[in-house]
Every structure is written in C-alpha cells, then in structure tokens.
Amino acid sequence: GAGVSQSPSNKVTEKGKDVELRCDPISGHTALYWYRQSLGQGLEFLIYFQGNSAPDKSGLPSDRFSAERTGGSVSTLTIQRTQQEDSAVYLCASSLGTGGPYEQYFGPGTRLTVT
C-alpha cells in the first residue's frame, strides 16, 4: 500500500517568508508526527496528533511554528517568518495509534532551505 507522502520534496524560500509543508499519512493511521532533522541537531520531535485529541505541541521551537490536521488525515506544518536556522529536513511519520509499541512509518521528508 501507499506509504507516507510529503510535499514539496524541496523548498527554497527567502528569509521572512511563510512556508507550508504537507503530509499525507498512511490510510487508517490515527497518529501523525512531525520531526525535524538538521545537521548537528539530529532528529527532534516537533508535534504530534492522535485522533481527535488536542495535539502535543511540546516540541515546537517557537510560536512561528504551527500545525494542523484536517479530518484526521492530511497535516500541514506552517512556519511563519522563516529564519535561516529553520533550514532542515522536515519529516512526517504516522502510526496505527498510540499507547502501544506501534512503529512509526516515515515519509521522504521536505528539505527546507531558507536563504
């Protein structure tokens, strides 16, 4: 079946612009996660959604970052007023649920470059 998809695969933007990154999880997966992978920082958790529960936003680095998940499926990560330190690969993952040892399946990522 189809895996997690993300778009765009690459995004170059000017400092100060807003960007939107999209994630389509695996069908039937109720949990959706966003991570950021940057050089020297490894993989860091940003936010996750589980069903209709309030999202866990504890990893968002600033109030310029936000995310939503519509209809329990597609998610959009928005970064406002981008800064050069936002340059990274943004990874989305989904899993069957939470509260159990479900593995997360990752998309190919969106490489964001802020110039």
Binding site: V4, A31, Y33, Y35, G42, L43, F45, Y48, Q50, D56, S58, G59, L91, A93, T98, G99, P101, E103, Q104, Y105, F106, G107, P108, G109
Partner: protein
Amino acid sequence: AQSVAQPEDQVNVAEGNPLTVKCTYSVSGNPYLFWYVQYPNRGLQFLLKYITGDNLIKGSYGFEAEFNKSQTSFHLKKPSALVSDSALYFCAVRDLTDKLIFGTGTRLQVFP
C-alpha cells in the same frame, strides 16, 4: 526522562564481516526500543523493535538486535555486511507520551 545513546559516530566494516552498531538506553519502566535506517536523501525506514520477550529480535534486510537489560543495551547486528548496508542508523526509544526519542545516529560504511 527516556533517552538513547549511540556512542559511535561511524562504524567501518569490510563486506562479508559481521557488524555491530551500538545503542544504550535509559528509561523508566519497560522500554519500547526501535532501530531505523536512513539511506541518502530518503526518509527513515523501520528495521525492528523490541517490546518484550525474546532478547534477540529479527528484523528487515537480515538485521537483528540484541536486547540486554542488565547492560541497558540494544545493539544492532548483522552476521555478514553488504556494501548496500551503508547508511545512517538510528536507535530510538518511545517515551511516555508516545513520541520517539532518537539517538544521534551512526553512519555505517561497508567497504568492498
């Protein structure tokens, strides 16, 4: 807090030789541990996980992992390395709020 450590930035091994990529963990309660692999310009691919039970876990692509509770380790192994195994490997632990906490990654280089 849950955490994992990968003490080696890079592991070099000759093709055909056994390989080990190390991971140690620190958790409260029973650990759910995972290994992922990342090939260049690709997302992370799930290899295997430990939940409970057998200490030797079989995974994808011929990989296995050995869980050792007394040493709090979860090392990734493969009996015979392939050049195509060259990639970045991440160990991860599921924390109490269900997100994954990743190690810093180990680059595996298999030489022909």
